[in-house]
């Protein structure tokens, strides 16, 4: 249906947008013509829960999401008005191209398969606004630091393709190694900070032999051996390779989980010393903090695996990066 609709909109060349239906009342209907049905609210257009819709654009790439007048597809009362050219307000019959409406697109108008929105996106179910946030998060991540850039480049080099979507959940964002899908639980959580940790999980998934699904949770939700190793490495990545002007830390938080403030302060110092290149990330220190993370983080606590007790995925990224 989308291809069919787009085909005719382009034919009109009105505003680069998506086809808008002719008025359902008033003058001039076309004999034998049944207007195509349109997506129900929120299925494919630019409407978002916050009412931001259509018309936002992504300047990069060849995305058909960009440009003015993309169909809102949502509830007009929320701002998801149907944009695009061709709608008529004076009850006149819209003019159709000679030859009328074809049900099957003519070969000369057939598009290539869906153009690539972003090299890391295989598919998505995001609204235009959400997609813009995601693309901005990708851009922010690349300029945040050399290792963040290395992570981004490494995923592209390994030809990683991910699905993106929204899903209500307990975490602001989550990566599922089984489906290679990253989901966000709210528009406000589509940010580089959340994306970074999930992309790092995607990197671990391709870097560690057999992927990280084997270190996830079983069908009953029990954490499998190695779960804490994989999670801790991602937290350390987020903490150490954070924007130095941001607050610290993700792995530990003062006052949480019976962690003493002095331990938190020690971890913070370790993170800052690595950031400031005063010390390297040594295995002994890493394992010391991994053990404490396992003790103080009930959400992540699991049996630990010796084979994952060093930050190999981080080190591989460092080796590939141009970080000094």
């Amino acid at each position: 249906m989308d291809d069919y609709v787009r085909f005719y909109c382009d034919d009109y060349g009105s505003s680069g947008g998506v086809y808008a239906p002719p008025p359902s009342t008033g003058g001039g209907s076309i004999p034998g013509y049944t207007p195509p049905s349109f997506p129900s609210p929120g299925t494919s257009g630019g409407s978002t829960s916050s009412g931001e819709s259509g018309g936002s654009s992504y300047s990069g790439g060849t995305s058909y999401y960009g440009g003015a007048g993309s169909a809102g597809g949502g509830d007009p009362s929320l701002g998801g008005s149907v944009g695009g050219g061709g709608s008529s307000s004076d009850n006149s019959t819209p003019e159709f191209p000679k030859g009328g409406l074809d049900i099957i697109p003519r070969p000369e108008y057939m598009r290539d398969p869906q153009p690539e929105v972003h090299p890391l996106i295989r598919s998505h179910t995001l609204s235009t606004y959400q997609l813009d946030l995601l693309l901005k998060a990708f851009n922010d991540l690349q300029v945040e630091g050399c290792l963040q850039k290395a992570l981004y480049d490494a995923l592209i080099e390994r030809n990683v393709k991910l699905d993106f979507g929204m899903m209500t959940g307990t975490a602001p964002a989550a990566y599922d190694p089984r489906t290679k899908r990253i989901v966000f639980n709210d528009d406000s959580n589509i940010s580089s900070a959340n994306l970074k940790e999930e992309l790092f999980h995607a990197w671990q998934d391709v870097y560690y032999q057999g992927g990280i699904e084997q270190y996830g949770k079983d069908a009953q939700g029990n954490k499998l051996p190695g779960y804490v190793n994989v999670e801790f490495e991602a937290k350390v990545f987020s903490d150490v390779f954070n924007n130095p002007n941001f607050t610290c830390c993700y792995a530990f938080r003062p006052g949480a989980d019976n962690l003493s403030e002095s331990l938190y302060r020690e971890y913070t110092n370790w993170v800052y010393d690595i950031q400031e290149k005063k010390i390297p990330m040594q295995d002994g220190d890493y394992q010391y903090w991994l053990n404490l993370f396992n003790q103080h983080s009930p959400e992540y606590s699991s049996s630990m695996l010796e084979s994952l007790s060093t930050p190999r995925a981080i080190r591989e990224l460092l080796a590939q990066s141009d970080c000094e």
Binding site: T168, A171, P172, S191, K235, N245, G255, Y272, E276, S297
Partner: protein, 162 residues
């Protein structure tokens, strides 16, 4: 006599690092005699240990994202209180703050420093942080009851950002 007592109190306020204080619990943490590591722990910090609660289940470690609204403001507070000579010789310190969620206001500030610092200036620094520094707060779920969130950031690094 009065002058002597006044002088003693004054010097105690300025230079004493292990003395009772009304704002901070001051402790020299270093085991190494050649190293200074002084903890200035806010005496009120224990009041602000409880995090917010949420209307739906949420992973607590990522339930709250806070971001300092203005690094420039932090730098300008430091520069207003300390001379450039002081800032040049201070090593990076850590401020551990408790932030009211959802307002983003700092309610408690402790410091961990590798240099001896004028105690009165440090108290002013705490006061200024709590009055003028704000955090942007992002929540992963709808909040049910307000609470506090502990975070840290670096201090005395403004010269690196110039």
């Amino acid at each position: 006599m009065f002058i002597l007592i006044f002088l003693q109190l004054f010097l105690q306020q300025v230079y004493c690092q292990n003395c009772p204080d009304d704002i901070f619990e001051i402790e020299n943490m270093s085991d190494n005699p050649n190293e200074t590591l002084i903890s200035y722990k806010d005496k009120n910090s224990s009041q602000f240990m409880h995090p917010p609660t949420f209307a739906t289940p949420v992973e607590m470690d990522r339930a709250v994202l806070v971001e300092l609204i203005s690094i420039q403001k932090l730098d300008s507070i430091e520069r207003a209180l300390f001379t450039s000579e002081e800032l040049d010789c201070f090593q990076r310190g850590i401020a551990i703050v408790y932030i009211h969620i959802p307002s983003g206001r700092i309610v408690s500030t402790s410091f961990y420093l590798k240099n001896k610092v004028d105690l009165n200036k440090l108290k002013r620094l705490k006061e200024e942080f709590e009055k003028n520094l704000y955090f942007k707060v992002k929540l992963a779920a709808e909040i049910e009851k307000e609470g506090y969130w502990g975070k840290s950031f670096r201090i005395f690094v403004s010269r690196n950002r110039q």
